[in-house]
Structures are given as C-alpha cells and as structure tokens.
C-alpha cells in the first residue's frame, strides 16, 4: 500500500528530492544521481564550487623546518609521487623558496640512491 502511494508521487515530482522510489524503475539513472548531492557538503550554493577546499599552507613555513636536507628521506618522500616524480607546488602548497630547496634536496637524494629516479623504492 505504501509503495503504491510513493511511486506516483515520485513520478509527479521527478525533479524533486524523492529519487529513491525511482531507483527501482530506472537503475542507470540512480547511479550518477546518488553521489552528486553527497559530493558537495561544503558548498550548499547551486552553481558555485561544490567542494570545500582547505587553504593550503607551506609545511616548511608552518613547522619552521629551515634545513631541507637530502639525508632526511622521510621528509622528502612526502613530496614525491608514487611514480617518483616531485609533486608540484600547486598540489602540496609549499611556498616557492622552500620548493626550490626541496627539489634540490630530492635531486641530491636521487643521486645517492636514497630516493628513486622512477618508480617506488624497492
């Protein structure tokens, strides 16, 4: 009884929020529709950016790490992608002077086999 009353209401308000009873009728549509409202929890505005973006800060400035050394593999490994590439600044948020030092240190570490040139460390 309850199901019968729900399905017509979903048909009438197809643009509205009651999409769950519709799922049984059109299974292909419910897939892409489901995650969309859940994807933008930070941005309730329609049409605007739907992702909440945290302000990126330079790790070295925040933690006051001045010496970026090639020997500190653990630190450097945080800024190297899985493929062995140096992660760009726009992804990590490191400031320009520190990225310069960081990239130099990573290159030195590669030369002495502390970090891989390509791929993961064995």
């Amino acid at each position: 009884m309850a199901e019968e009353t729900k399905t017509p209401s979903a048909r009438v308000g197809s643009s509205g929020g009651e999409s769950r009873p519709e799922r049984s009728e059109r299974p292909e549509r419910s897939g892409p529709r489901g995650p969309r409202p859940g994807g933008g929890p930070g941005g309730p505005r329609e049409g605007g950016r739907k992702y909440f973006r945290r302000k990126k800060v330079c790790k070295f400035c925040v933690e006051k790490i001045e010496a970026v050394n090639y020997k500190d593999v653990r630190l450097l490994a945080q800024f190297v992608a899985e493929s062995g590439k140096i992660t760009p600044r726009r992804l990590t948020g490191v400031c320009t002077p520190h990225q310069r030092r960081l990239s130099r240190a990573i290159k030195q570490a590669r030369n002495i086999a502390l970090l891989p040139f390509a791929g993961r460390a064995q």
Binding site: A67, K71, A113, F117, G119, Q122
Partner: protein, 141 residues
C-alpha cells in the same frame, strides 16, 4: 680557504667492517694531513632506492669535512679508484650553514625582543607614582 663539505659514499654490502674502517681512516688521515678536519659516521646497511650495478643494498657512510676544495677533490679521486665504493656524493654545506645561523640569530633576537618589553614596561609604571609621591613629600618639608 676552508669550507664545509658533506661527503656521502656507499660501499658494497659485503664489505667487512675491518676493511671499511681502514678505508675511512685512510680517507680521514688524507684530509687531516692536508690541514682539514674530518668526522665520519657509518649509517650501516641500507636498501638502495634503485639497483646500482648488481647491488640492491649498500653500506652508507657520511663524512663531514672541513677543508679546501683541492683536498675534497683528492678524496673524491681516491673514492673513484677504490673498487668497493659504488657511489658517492659531495655537497658543499658552508653557505647553507651560514644561512641557518642567520635565521637562528634572527629568531633568537625576536624571542629576546618579545621577552624584554615586559620587564622594561614594568619598571616604568611604578616609577611614575614614585615621582608623584616625591613631590608632595618634598612640599611639606
């Protein structure tokens, strides 16, 4: 002109401790005889990030050298001809150390500056009432 260098080298993993110590001491003595100072530390066996020749591991040695460039050049030449050494890297560190010193000094002075105003400001406020009390005290006398 003496400068600071960091010299890291990797020797093959099957090298005996005795031979390694001998190699390190010869390198150190070659630096000290030329008028420099050297201090070394052995990191021990580590896995290499990639295969070097046919080795997957190596014994890492770090050497801090304070000497002229010519001395370092000579040490590098020796490493090149020493067969068990599979890799080495020299980095000049004196400018970096200078920079770090400068930053440290600035930070320290900032700390002091933030610490000093409180004691300086404290005596000023009691000084004003004292001056005020002195004048009435002198007037009746």
């Amino acid at each position: 002109m003496n400068r600071n260098y960091e010299l890291m080298f990797i020797v093959r993993p099957d090298m005996v401790d005795e031979d390694l110590n001998k190699l390190i001491s010869t390198l150190e003595s070659s630096v000290t005889t030329a008028g420099g100072t050297a201090k070394s530390e052995v990191w021990g066996k580590r896995r290499l990030a990639y295969r070097v020749g046919r080795f997957n591991d190596g014994i890492f040695v770090l050497m801090m050298i304070e000497a002229t460039g010519a001395v370092v050049h000579e040490v590098e030449r020796r490493l090149r001809v020493t067969e068990p050494v599979i890799k080495f890297l020299t980095v000049r560190t004196d400018e970096e150390l200078k920079r770090l010193d400068k930053i440290k000094k600035i930070r320290d002075s900032k700390k002091k500056a933030s610490a000093t105003p409180a004691p300086v400001a404290a005596p000023v406020t009691p000084a004003a009432p004292e001056a005020g009390t002195e004048t009435p005290a002198s007037a009746p006398a």
